[in-house]
């Protein structure tokens, strides 16, 4: 009996020891943050300084992202998922909108662009009213919340090849990619965010999350140009169920998929016209693989 007790004590002790790093992250203090207040960002020829963003952060951002940048600001409780995304936890250093491969840190430019662009279908407005210097300062401020920036470098931005000409063949090929990589499981066969998995999705923190609805006229979170949509396939949206398809889709196929997704969107486009002329039908999930 004493032996068993000792064994359990040892096991629990070891587990507690292993969880110490987690606990220390949870107990991030202003002292920890002050040690990183010298954080800088570099966007073009502008250098941002974290210490200069304190006022703007407290005026504009803290209500959602919190004093400790953990996404637990005073209104975070009232932001209901999946209709709205919860505020980002900057301490994790995980960001959706990146130009860098999945799992890597975003570039300063990525964060700089996100601040100005805002995030649709969330409470994150377009903060395009800041000066560039103020935005660069805020990027540095965001970075100072996570120790990742002290030990890691941002990933190398992916290369996006030149956009090819849209053709009916490319749209049909895009439909095949849509079926093959099973985009429809979340986004639905018509892009209406009603795929069979849609209601079960959660983010990395276990919170409900909704897939993007291509048909309701809203803009994709990370930008609405063809290049922005292409980038999402290849980088994924870290922290969400949307993975990177960089290993599954060739660049040409990714462009095909961009063109096919444009056919779902409510805005007028030549892709939509071409799909109409082709009489393109949605994928059939019940058909045998390769014939969907």
């Amino acid at each position: 009996m004493p032996t068993r007790l000792r064994k359990w004590s040892l096991l629990l002790g070891a587990a507690a020891f292993l969880m110490l790093p987690l606990a220390s992250r949870a107990q991030l203090t202003t002292y920890d943050l002050n040690t990183r207040i010298g954080m800088e960002s570099h966007v073009g020829n502008i250098t941002g300084h974290a210490k200069d963003a304190k006022g703007d952060y407290r005026r504009y951002c803290v209500v959602c992202h919190g004093e400790l940048g953990d996404g637990n600001g005073e209104v975070a409780t009232w932001i209901d998922t999946p209709m709205y995304a919860k505020p980002r936890d900057f301490q994790l250093g995980v960001f959706k909108c990146r130009s860098t491969p999945t799992g890597t840190l975003p570039t300063d430019q990525d964060l700089f662009d996100t601040i100005a662009r805002g995030l649709d279908r969330s409470n994150m407005p377009q903060w395009s009213t800041f000066t560039k210097q103020e935005r660069a300062d805020l990027v540095a401020w965001v970075k100072h919340y996570s120790p990742r920036w002290a030990t890691e470098k941002p990933g190398t931005p992916i290369t996006i090849p030149a956009e090819p000409e849209v053709t009916p063949e490319r749209i049909k090929a895009g439909r095949d990619v849509f079926a093959r990589v099973q985009c429809w499981k979340c986004h639905g066969v018509a892009g209406m965010a009603n795929g069979p998995s849609a209601s079960t999705l959660t983010d990395d923190l276990g919170r409900p999350i909704a897939p993007f609805n291509f048909t309701d006229g809203t803009r994709p979170k990370c930008g609405d140009t063809d290049r922005d949509i292409y980038r999402i396939f290849m980088t994924g949206l870290d922290g969400t169920p949307m993975p990177s398809f960089a290993d599954n889709i060739k660049p040409d196929e990714a462009w095909d998929l961009v063109f096919y997704l444009r056919t779902f969107m409510s805005q007028k486009s030549k892709e939509k016209e071409m799909a109409k002329q082709l009489g393109l039908k949605p994928v059939d999930p019940n058909a045998p693989a390769g014939q969907q």
Partner: protein
């Protein structure tokens, strides 16, 4: 430690007897006890943003708040339509301000008595009055009816509870998905960069911008007051980031009064444009212009000698134009400048144009007919202007600076100057002016100088309510409008000190 320090200072404050002493000591309290400012009611409840996101200090908008307003009270996140809100959400704010104030007006003409009987003469005396008081009550309700269709409804009362509709409009936003196409119809504030409806001061003379309301003494053109809400339609366009803004409004020349008793068949236009620039660490700087030009009736048909509402004809013209600049000097200091050059038709200058008396709340009162004493002049057929009459012309400027210690605490200082450059009476025209002096109207007659200082401190705010402890002092000087009565000058000096709790929920 911080709590302890606040407590000690609070004890000192309680023992203080002088109002000034109180104010003096509460400033450090404010500086040391500042807590994060939270969101304001109506839109904060909707978007979860704190008040400081949109307001430099409530209610004055900052750049982001201006952009939010220009977008039709939308943050453009595809969740602006009410269909996305909790059904229990109701976009309403109530605002009222209990105050204590002391008003002191110099050179007031008062009757004199001897042996309990009026002497028939008068004397000049300063009148000071103080006491506890109330502001009017505002019900702000605003938001979106649908994506890109916004509204504003503001029933507002005076301190006695007499209501009128201060602001009512529906706005179609981002027509054809373009921020350059927005139209508004109703009663609204003109597109003034320095908004009088969001003014940070509350005293009688400091609670308005004199530059927005200045009218030469004896002039009856009340229709060019760009600080008053007007009835009409407005076009506004802006770039996505709101750096560039233009607007044009067509309004009835009624000064916002309803029922077409005044302003029927006469219109005014208001135009404004501005461009903002990125100035790095200094902040976003903005410069722009505005112009108002229009005409209003000077002759109202009469029945039994009484002017008939809505019958105005014989329109005469007027104009107001100027430049605006909003300059930021880092995160704490900013300065806004508004200039104005104004000019009225000589008929207005001689007192024609406002024959229908207004009640000051958007309505009209019973009329009387000139030439009865106290009645406005009516340009009935055959009326001739006095020889030498000319357009009154003036220039004005407003300088308003802020020191924003934190979103919760703002210090305000304002100076305004209105200067006549041409009186309505010609140089050779000899008249008995309002000051009782016979002779050419002095060139400075009616000039105004005023300054206002104060601070507003928000000890707390939540997304459900807001409270500002407001302290202000205003001093106003006007040349020549006091009773002469043997005095070397007949200038009026008025001052007011005000403290209050400006709250909304």
């Amino acid at each position: 430690m911080r709590v302890l320090r606040c407590s000690r200072i609070s004890q000192v404050v309680r023992s203080a007897t002088s109002v000034c002493f109180l104010a003096l000591f509460l400033v450090p309290v404010v500086l040391t006890c500042s807590q994060p400012a939270h969101a304001l009611p109506a839109f904060a409840r909707k978007y979860g943003l704190r008040c400081s996101a949109c307001h430099e200090s409530w209610p004055m908008l900052n750049y982001f708040g201006q952009k939010f307003k220009d977008n039709g009270y939308q943050i453009m996140n595809d969740r602006d339509a009410p269909i996305w809100q909790n059904p229990g959400y109701w976009p309403v704010v109530f605002r009222i301000t209990p105050i204590w104030h002391r008003v002191s007006t110099g050179k007031v003409e008062v009757d004199t008595y001897a042996g309990g009987q009026p002497t028939g003469g008068s004397a000049v005396q300063r009148i000071s009055t103080s006491g506890f008081d109330l502001s009017g009550l505002d019900f702000h309700t605003a938001g979106t009816l649908e994506k890109n269709i916004s509204f504003y409804l503001l029933p507002s009362s005076d301190p006695t509870g007499a209501f009128h509709f201060e602001q009512v409009f529906v706005r179609f936003d981002n027509i054809l998905h373009s921020p350059w196409l927005n139209f508004k119809l109703g009663r609204f504030e003109l597109d003034n960069l320095l908004s009088e409806k969001r003014i940070l001061t509350l005293t009688g003379n400091g609670g308005i911008y004199q530059t927005y309301h200045f009218i030469p003494v004896g002039d009856a053109n009340i229709y060019g007051q760009i600080g008053d809400n007007q009835l009409g339609i407005e076009y506004l366009g802006h770039s996505w980031n709101d750096r560039s803004r233009i607007s044009a409004s067509l309004v009835s020349s009624s000064d916002g009064n309803v029922n077409l008793t005044t302003g029927a068949n006469s219109y005014s236009g208001f135009f404004a444009g501005s461009q903002a620039f990125d100035a790095g660490r200094l902040g976003v700087q903005r410069v722009g212009f505005y112009a108002m030009a229009g005409e209003a009736a000077t002759y109202y048909l009469t029945s039994g000698g009484v002017p008939i509402g809505g019958s105005g004809i014989a329109n005469k013209g007027y104009s107001r134009e100027g430049f605006v600049g909003q300059f930021y000097f880092g995160p704490h200091v900013d300065l806004t400048v508004v200039t104005q050059h104004g000019s009225d038709n000589p008929w207005f200058g001689q007192g024609y144009g406002n024959a229908i008396l207004t009640d000051g709340n958007g309505g009209t009162t019973a009329t009387c007919s000139s030439p009865a004493p106290g009645c406005p002049l009516n340009n009935v057929p055959g009326t001739a202007l006095p020889v030498g009459s000319q357009s009154p012309v003036w220039n004005g400027a407003t300088f308003e600076g802020h020191y924003v210690y934190s979103p919760q605490l703002i210090f305000i200082a304002r100076y305004e100057a209105e200067r006549m450059s041409q009186q309505a009476d010609g140089r050779n025209y000899v008249t008995t002016g309002a000051n009782g002096v016979t002779g050419p109207t002095p060139s400075n007659f009616g000039n105004i100088s005023t300054y206002t200082i104060g601070f507003r401190y928000n000890p707390f705010m939540t997304s459900r309510a807001g409270l500002a402890w407001h302290n202000e002092y205003n001093w106003l000087h006007q040349d020549g409008t006091g009773p002469s009565l043997g005095l070397s000058t007949a200038n009026i000096n008025t001052s007011e000190i005000l403290m209050g709790l400006d709250f909304d929920f």
